[in-house]
């Protein structure tokens, strides 16, 4: 058995506000295997996105360690791609330039970059848009371009922070199918943050359920449904109900806390 690709050992994250320290994450122990699709599910503010940013290396854990590919994470690295919730394409570059931005930073020649961009855009189902500006694309197309940009650096793990949250329901379900194809094709591990239960069941090999703040792992639920998954099948519903039950207390607690803060 190979060791996991990403290992979180007793990871915690706290920060100091004006009056009290806030504990966002506490005692996270988790391993993510190569080519595994893991979904982080939890109520808003439970720290699931924070954990993603810690793994990305954009923030530092206040306790514990994170390893990726056998090396300790101390900052961002091209072995870990990240896709953001909102559109993150640079408006001053064409879509093609955005997709190959990482390669440009590495000094890859312009001609080669153009070829790579064309190939990647085709791979994510975007045809002839390399010369367009990001604001000429729809929300779904922009997120696919962002995916192509992340894939350009051939990451071993792709971190996705609620990437479809801003999309309408129809586009969202299309994008989910499409993401599964990209995942199979790229051979990367996927770490996907969401608060949508159905999205978690549709995508994951394993769903990691978080508690309300401070975020801890409440439960890890394997989803052993065959793909493609039918959201109307009884097995899908059973899993979705199970996750709903797991989450209900946490959502109530998160809600109560938000009310109290207000």
């Amino acid at each position: 058995m190979n060791p996991p690709l990403v290992i979180c050992s007793d990871v915690g994250k706290a920060w100091q506000t004006a009056d009290t320290p806030v504990v966002a994450l506490e005692g996270i122990n988790l391993g993510i295997a190569r080519r595994e699709f893991v979904v982080f599910l939890g109520p808003s503010g439970c720290g699931k996105s924070t954990l993603l940013y810690l793994i990305a290396g954009l923030e530092q854990a206040t306790s514990g360690t994170i390893e990726s590919g056998g090396a300790r994470v101390t900052g961002p690295g091209t072995d870990r791609g990240l896709i953001f919730q909102e559109s993150s394409l640079f408006p001053w570059m064409t879509v093609g330039e955005n997709v190959t931005f990482g390669l440009k930073l590495q000094g890859v020649a312009a001609l080669e970059r153009r070829q790579v961009a064309a190939g990647l855009l085709r791979k994510v189902g975007l045809g002839d848009v390399a010369h367009k500006r990001p604001d000429q694309l729809s929300g779904g197309m922009r997120q696919r371009a962002a995916m192509a940009r992340a894939l350009a650096l051939r990451p071993e793990v792709l971190l996705l922070d609620e990437p479809f949250a801003a999309l309408d329901v129809q586009t969202r379900s299309k994008m989910q199918q499409f993401l599964v194809e990209v995942w199979r094709d790229s051979g990367a591990s996927m770490l996907f943050v969401t608060h949508h239960i159905d999205e978690a069941v549709a995508l994951a090999d394993r769903v990691v359920v978080f508690t309300a703040r401070p975020g801890r792992i409440k439960s890890v639920v394997p989803i052993d449904l065959p793909r493609p998954r039918d959201p109307r099948s009884p097995a899908f519903h059973a899993l979705s109900d199970h996750l709903t039950d797991l989450l209900r207390d946490e959502v109530d607690r998160a809600f109560a806390e938000q009310e109290r803060v207000r």
């Binding site: 961002p76 990240l82 993150s88 640079f90 001053w92 931005f101 440009k104 930073l105 590495q106 650096l153």
Partner: protein, 297 residues
Amino acid sequence: MRALLLAAGSGPPRQAASVQPTRMAQAVTVAGWWLLSLGLFAGMWEVAWAFGWADPLLLPPPHVFLRNFADQAQFFVSSDVVGEESSAGALRSLAMTVVASSLRVVAGLLLGFVCSVTLGLLIRYFKLLGNLTLPTITLLAPISPIAWLPVAIFIFGIGNPPAIFMVFISLFFVMTLSTISQIDSVSRTYLNVGAIMGASRRQLFLHVIIPAILPSLFMVLRMNLFGAWMVVLVAEATGVGSGLGQIVMLARNTFNSSLSFFTMTLIGVTGFLFDIALRQIQRRVLFWVPPSAVGRL
């Protein structure tokens, strides 16, 4: 303007031909309102003159101060000396005067923009430089450019340099501070994307921060354009010896109200054309900023 727009057509394809008539109609409507607005203003003035409410000696109406073009233009000298009568053609000497003032504004703005943006970037790139310079800059920034006028003359004497310096100084501190605050408010997401893609600090500045702050810096530049015109006129009126500011001063000293209003008209039109030109440049250089943010006429 239209020709410039077409000639430099490097941007995305504009509206299709089928939409042209409505754009034409829009342009006609805009032009109509312009004429009406100007006509109303001039008309009220003329009426006030016709009824004898406005003293023609103090407030000569437009048809008076625009009528005798050659008579006005004699005061615009193509050489750099004011006070002699012009020997060159009226139109030529007038153009020379406007160009002289305009070049001072352009030179000052260009120098000011480049220097202040560079300094702002360096301040945020090298923390030590920021610590050393920021307190002083913050203290110098609120000093009115007019207060710099004696300094400009002490250092540069008479001629072009003090006028250019005045425009430069009117822009420099504002723009430096504005550059810094724009750098500080670059979207976290853009910076994160840069970091995730493996950008070094230098690459982050070059490929993310500079393009991200340029649009708002250009807005600041445009806002300061009118200020630059104000300052250049003061500089010319006191220490340069030519330009529109000198004509204004001449009109005051010789109690020539017609010349005064004539020059004011020139200044207004030139300033307006400058703003249009800057807007066009903005549209070319900052192609990704939507036209609504650039501002329409």
